[in-house]
């Protein structure tokens, strides 16, 4: 189920990983009026004809789930965006990668809640696979701005295997501490 913006974000990140991306860049920006995110990957990309079908919930390229006949990630995201008068853009080129950007107006009644960003970042960084990921989160409330960045390769260099028990706990605490440092600014309007 897609109940939060984090659910959509994780879906798109998973698509990027499954498209065999070696470098994924994720940005999330919250400026009190809009919540925007973008995911850029250097995966296999899509042709014009494939791009034309991504809005079709009964289309999937069949590589992820061989027997599944539907692909709901992007259709759900588009539906949520159009219900809230948000924006959705996708650009892709075969062999070069895909970029998806999306924006939700913060005060629209149908805008899904943001969800738990630290947990989503933790899940994204610990997806299995050999890829680098760069997450940039920024928050803005009037003149106040802050944020943090997470580099997967840098974190692996320090913590080793991110899936191992103690590394995972340290990574969770690290992300949590970054996020909690933004509490003051997040609460301000």
């Amino acid at each position: 189920m897609h109940e939060t913006i984090c659910d959509f974000l994780l879906d798109i990140i998973q698509n990027a990983i499954e498209a065999k991306a070696s470098d994924i860049s994720v940005t999330v920006a919250d400026d009190a009026k809009h919540i925007r995110f973008s995911v850029t990957d250097d995966g296999k990309g899509m042709s014009i004809s494939e791009l034309g079908r991504i809005r079709d919930p009964f289309y999937t390229d069949g590589t992820k789930h061989v027997r599944r006949k539907i692909g709901l990630g992007i259709p759900f995201l588009q539906q949520a965006v159009s219900m809230t008068d948000g924006e959705f853009e996708i650009s892709s080129e075969p062999g070069k990668g895909t970029r998806i950007t999306c924006s939700f107006p913060a005060d629209h009644i149908d805008t899904p809640p943001v969800g738990n960003l630290p947990s989503a970042f933790l899940a994204a960084l610990t997806y299995p696979g050999d890829f680098d990921m760069h997450i940039v989160y920024s928050i803005e409330r009037g003149p106040a701005k802050d944020g943090y960045e997470l580099h997967r390769s840098e974190l692996i260099e320090i913590l080793g295997d991110l899936h191992m028990g103690q590394s995972l706990i340290m990574l969770r605490d690290f992300i949590q501490s970054q996020d909690e440092s933004l509490e003051n600014i997040r609460g301000a309007r």
């Binding site: 320090i158 340290m170 501490s177 970054q178 909690e180």
Partner: protein, 133 residues
């Protein structure tokens, strides 16, 4: 929680690595096994364990593994600790509080002299008189 920097994370990782290393018996010729059954815990085995780890740290001993076990059957003298040092008989100490734990590290592990008054599973008297050597 204060905002951590990557340097903080690196330090935390090193600390955890060192702490984990102490639990690893691979390549260590000294083992300290702390009885941490319910009886041991109730009698303060955690204080003894902490004191072992602290004293080992302070003296930079990297050949000592500290592990834990359940009840050793000597509930009347908990907390109990078994100390295995290469070239010395295995010894079970009883009534080990934080101060005695520190003494065990300094005297038994570092100076190869048993802390005789706290030895409960006692090797032969001549061995004790000889300091366990």
């Amino acid at each position: 929680m204060a905002k951590m920097t990557l340097e903080d994370l690196r330090k935390l990782r090193e600390e955890k690595k060192r702490a984990l290393n102490k639990r690893d018996i691979e390549g260590k010729n000294v083992q300290i096994i702390v009885g941490m059954g319910t009886c041991g815990l109730a009698a303060g085995a955690k204080d003894a364990l902490d004191s072992f780890l602290k004293t080992i740290d302070e003296n930079n001993l990297d050949n000592v593994a500290v592990t834990q076990t359940g009840c050793m059957g000597l509930c009347y003298v908990e907390p109990t600790v078994e100390v295995i040092v290469e070239g010395m008989p295995n010894v079970i100490y009883g009534n080990v509080d934080a101060a005695i734990a520190a003494r065990i590290v300094k005297e038994h592990v570092m100076n190869k002299q048993m802390v005789s008054e706290y030895v409960f599973d006692r090797p032969a008297a001549d061995i004790i008189n000889d300091g366990g050597r």
